[in-house]
């Protein structure tokens, strides 16, 4: 297992180097001269040339990548073209909003998805199972921004119960976090169900029944504990889709997080911001995936490492 963990940890920098290379190349392929964009529309040729030197765009590509990577490691992601502020500061200001939304959504998804999946597994093939599975597949098939628009129309516009846009109070969290939670809830419910069904057929569960342990204790204590491993995995491995969902959700609700920041940056061709947000988001996803994989390795020593 140690070899497996070492291999996974060694793979991490390789993946991050690849990701940064890809982002670097993509940004260099952007149409338009970044120096001219940075210098502004009325800049003289001299000012543009100055900017080219300042950004290091007159150097060779490998040199540029090296200084970009060195900067990124030290937490320097360049200056935003639009706001002229350091991209790192801009991201730091918005990240708490995205994390707050993501954590609330995950808590909702686990709080609803796990019990729903348990109920479905306990009443397998019965009507509670059917209802949970129908809702789960519908939840995975809905466009979350559509759900957001429908909810905004009902609760914000028609009834006036909740704020329409922005992040002004705790009530602003309700609609965006529910919107973002729909897909992970569906995924977790399905995973919990299949994982529970598998665990419930094990010998030790039958032994527990034979000993006369109350069914409720068997479900919530004996079975769930072992069913949790795949559930944790799915939560960790689906972090990427949560980030993707956050980009859309934040844009619908005008949420001041990094997802909306990214979409706005594309409109302004603010390439240092596109570069910075992408790097931060992907690094977060890669680290979360790694944590999930390591956690499985620790929790389930029987797993095959190849």
């Amino acid at each position: 297992m140690k070899a497996y963990i070492a291999k996974k940890l060694l793979a991490l920098p390789l993946i991050l180097i690849g990701v940064s290379l890809l982002v670097f190349v993509a940004i260099r392929a952007l149409p338009g001269d970044p120096a001219r964009l940075m210098a502004g529309p009325e800049a003289t040729q001299e000012a543009v040339d100055n900017m080219t030197r300042r950004l290091g765009l007159d150097r060779s590509l490998p040199e540029q990548y090296a200084s970009f990577a060195y900067g990124a490691v030290r937490g320097d992601l360049g200056i935003s073209i639009k706001s002229k502020l350091p991209v790192v500061d801009e991201i730091a200001e918005r990240l708490p909003f995205t994390l707050g939304l993501a954590i609330t959504a995950y808590l909702l998804a686990i709080g609803i998805g796990v019990p729903a999946g348990m109920i479905a597994a306990i009443y397998r093939h019965g009507w509670p199972d059917q209802i949970v599975m129908i809702l789960a597949i519908a939840g995975a098939s809905i466009a979350n921004f559509w759900l957001a628009l429908m909810a905004m129309n009902t609760f914000s516009v028609q009834l006036g119960w909740l704020p329409l846009l922005g992040a002004s109070s705790w009530r602003s969290f309700i609609l965006p976090s529910i919107t973002l939670a729909v897909l992970p809830t569906a995924v977790i419910a399905r995973m919990t169900r299949s994982s529970m069904i598998e665990v419930m057929s094990q010998d030790y569960i039958r032994t527990a029944y034979a000993k006369g342990v109350a069914p409720q204790t068997i479900y919530w204590s004996h079975a769930l504990r072992n069913a949790l491993i795949p559930i944790i995995t799915i939560v960790g491995l689906n972090f990427g889709s949560l980030v993707g969902g956050a980009v859309v959700t934040e844009s619908v609700f005008n949420w001041p997080g990094i997802g909306r920041f990214l979409v706005d940056a594309v409109r302004y061709r603010d390439y240092p911001v596109i570069q910075g947000v992408t790097l931060v988001a992907v690094t977060g996803v890669v680290v979360m995936n790694l944590l999930a994989e390591l956690l499985i390795a620790v929790l389930n020593p029987k797993i095959r490492f190849d």
Binding site: A11, V19, A143, W146, N153, G244, L262, V266, I274, V286
Partner: protein, 288 residues
């Protein structure tokens, strides 16, 4: 009497066998039904909708559903029903092009990777892991910001983030099939590598690839609609479902139908592909 009996009986038996099969494979029946609803609707859109989806009628803007306009009209007086129908064409085009491109690139890469030695395999999988590390939407945004916002660029972006799914799947299938007796026999008979890849590996990997394609179809439609909604994909006046909702968003509280119906269309279509994919997967998975 006897002759009629012998003529009808086999046909009736075939029908009842088909019905019984559908009762067992309910997912395939239901998913197939939903997909079977959308595909003809998309193909026959000009025959079903009596109105041009681009025709504006500024005297009849934002009307609620009526006999003349079953889904109402939008801010430019265009018929929402016709636009949703034509939107089905765009969505199916998205599926065919994006999934097609991802399969054409991903499957050969995966099979090659699985058949090759350690270094090629590791290099290919490294690239795939890098692409896989990106959340699909984020990678698509990055690619679209390079290529420019248009439907076709969006489809290329979605295809690129779907490639690793097919490469990994076909690599793993290849590794499994490579050690089967019939493939080892073929290798020892001196059959060319190329023929082994196409005739011995690919043919037996096609089932899982089709299942994966069905399951990816829903993701493709949702991603394309999301990005078009953000203004990074299909541009107006194209009746793409996500782009239509982007329009509708500006009239929230005034006209809900502009957002309601395209979203319902997305749900039915994606639901169809997802249920069908689930059913096909269960059918092919002998463990269940």
């Amino acid at each position: 009497m006897a002759s009629i009996e012998t003529e009808i009986a086999p046909r009736r038996r075939a029908l009842s066998r088909a019905l019984r099969w559908m009762a067992v494979h309910r997912s395939i029946a239901l998913g197939g039904f939903l997909v079977g609803l959308i595909v003809p609707a998309a193909i026959l859109a000009p025959l079903i909708a009596s109105v041009d989806p681009y025709a504006q009628d500024l005297l009849a803007t934002m009307e609620p559903p009526s006999w003349a306009h079953p889904f109402g009209t939008d801010d430019n007086g265009r018929d929402i029903f016709a636009r949703v129908l034509y939107g089905a064409r765009i969505s199916l085009l998205e599926v065919v092009l994006s999934v097609g491109l991802a399969v054409i690139v991903g499957v050969p890469l995966g099979i090659l990777s699985g058949m090759s030695g350690r270094y090629v395999d590791q290099a290919v999988m490294w690239v795939m892991d890098i692409l896989f590390a990106f959340p699909g939407i984020v990678l698509a945004i990055l690619i679209v910001s390079v290529l420019g916002s248009s439907l076709i660029n969006l489809l290329i972006a979605i295809a690129i983030f779907s490639v690793p799914v097919y490469a990994r799947l076909s690599r793993n299938l290849t590794l499994g099939l490579k050690s089967m007796d019939y493939v080892e026999a073929a290798i020892s008979l001196g059959i060319s590598r190329r023929r082994i890849m196409t005739h011995y590996i690919l043919r037996n990997a096609i089932g899982p690839i089709i299942v994966q394609s069905t399951l990816t179809a829903g993701t493709v439609i949702l991603s394309a609609a999301s990005l078009s909604f953000l203004g990074l994909g299909a541009q107006p006046p194209l009746p793409e479902w996500g782009a239509m909702m982007s329009d509708g968003r500006n009239y929230l509280g005034l006209n809900i139908y502009m957002s309601l119906f395209p979203g319902l269309a997305i749900m039915i279509t994606v639901l169809g592909f997802n249920i069908l994919g689930d059913g096909l997967r269960d059918l092919l998975d002998p463990r269940k």
